[in-house]
């Protein structure tokens, strides 16, 4: 019985923590300036986390790496923060150390730009929060031109043509005038 009590307490604490993380939902902040290339752990002492690329972008394949420490046989990412499935099982890193896990996901195209804090939970009890940024991506094609080369002639031929025709009319007028004067 002495051994059962701590187990029940631990289970209750873990459940409460899980519920809090799930209910927290997406928490993007407004600052999304691309800055660092590697996200670092913020809470667990022996836990190392990394996001690549950081900043990422909507629709981009993004890799989350975590080192849970020895004796960990699985790790779970809380994807609800990113608009994905709630619990996503991470995979053991091929060729990596024991306790290393990795997960590559395609961020939803609808994800809002900002700073995100998804969590990871290791089977050895370690837990941590990633921090990484999602940069905005232009959603509309750019408007770069007003059709000047497609619609305007922009040529000096028109005024030159007008000038020559005016000279022709003048020359014709002078010739006719001389003809009239010659008759008189």
């Amino acid at each position: 019985m002495r051994f059962v009590k701590p187990v029940i307490v631990t289970a209750c604490v873990s459940t409460a923590w899980l519920a809090a993380m799930v209910l927290a939902g997406p928490t993007p902040s407004t600052s999304a300036a691309p800055a660092k290339s590697v996200a670092t752990s913020v809470s667990a002492e022996h836990l190392t986390t990394r996001v690549s690329p950081d900043p990422s972008a909507p629709g981009t394949r993004t890799t989350f790496d975590v080192y849970c420490g020895p004796h960990a046989f699985s790790a779970t990412l809380f994807g609800v923060t990113l608009g994905m499935a709630n619990l996503i099982l991470m995979h053991s890193t091929p060729g990596g150390m024991s306790g290393e896990f990795s997960l590559t996901v395609t961020l939803p195209t609808s994800i809002a730009p900002g700073t995100y804090h998804p969590s990871v939970d290791c089977s050895n009890g370690a837990a941590d929060t990633f921090e990484f940024s999602v940069s905005p991506v232009p959603q509309q094609p750019p408007e770069t031109g007003d059709g000047a080369t497609a619609t305007q002639t922009g040529t000096p031929l028109v005024p030159i043509g007008y000038g020559l025709m005016t000279l022709g009319v003048l020359a014709g007028g002078v010739a006719l005038r001389r003809r009239v004067m010659a008759r008189h």
Partner: protein, 214 residues
């Protein structure tokens, strides 16, 4: 003598009037500028496949691009940073500064890992051809030099060039993250719709980082 001058004047009047009329007609109906060059369809293959040529050059740290030089199409232009507009479109230069280019400053910088994007006008009122008028003439292996505020010059090599209808603009293909530094040069192209005063397509040049020099 008077008759000779009179006949000469009549002849000159006829020649001048006919020549003037012909020039007026040509000026009115013939375009001085050719429409912007359309890239051939086969140049878009590499962009479609998503394969990015990689070298062993070292990617650069983030620094604001300040100048772009493209020898093949004789472009030597200033670059200004721009963000996004409220409608989700990227900020582009004003039509009053048609020889200026802009860089999407919310994304990676040229030479950094990822996809950097630079925009320029294809044409503009009163000047005709603008800074990226000949962008469609670029071909694979052409070089692009981007001078950064750090004094580094990031060098890119074109690996694809494509034209996309604005109604089917492939945002993911163009802006997706690349693990190698890449560059996109974007302008308008294709058919111009006089009713909406917009081009119906965009020309996009895909280039990959090959190194840097000081």
């Amino acid at each position: 003598m008077i008759r000779f001058i009179r006949n000469w004047l009549i002849g000159a009047a006829i020649v001048l009037t006919l020549t003037g009329a012909a020039m007026w007609y040509m000026g009115k109906h013939e375009l001085r500028w050719q429409p912007p060059t359309r890239p051939p369809a086969w140049e878009a293959k590499a962009a479609k496949s998503g394969t990015v040529p990689v070298t062993n050059a070292k990617p650069l740290k983030r620094a604001q691009p300040v100048r772009i030089y493209i020898p093949k199409i004789r472009v030597w232009a200033r670059i200004e940073p721009r963000g996004l507009r409220r409608n989700g479109a990227v900020g582009v230069p004003s039509l009053k500064t048609p020889f200026l280019t802009t860089w999407f400053d919310r994304g990676p910088a040229p030479g950094q890992r990822g996809t950097a994007a630079i925009y320029g006008h294809v044409d503009a009122d009163k000047v005709g051809p603008a800074v990226f008028y000949r962008l469609g003439s670029l071909r694979r292996k052409d070089l692009i030099y981007v001078t950064l505020a750090s004094s580094d010059v990031a060098i890119f090599r074109v690996y694809s060039i494509a034209m996309y209808a604005k109604t089917q603009f492939p945002t993911a293909t163009i802006y997706r993250y690349t693990h190698w530094p890449t560059l996109r040069l974007i302008t308008c192209g294709g058919r111009f719709d006089p009713a909406t005063h917009h081009y119906l397509s965009n020309v996009v040049v895909f280039a990959s980082y090959v190194g840097a020099r000081r």
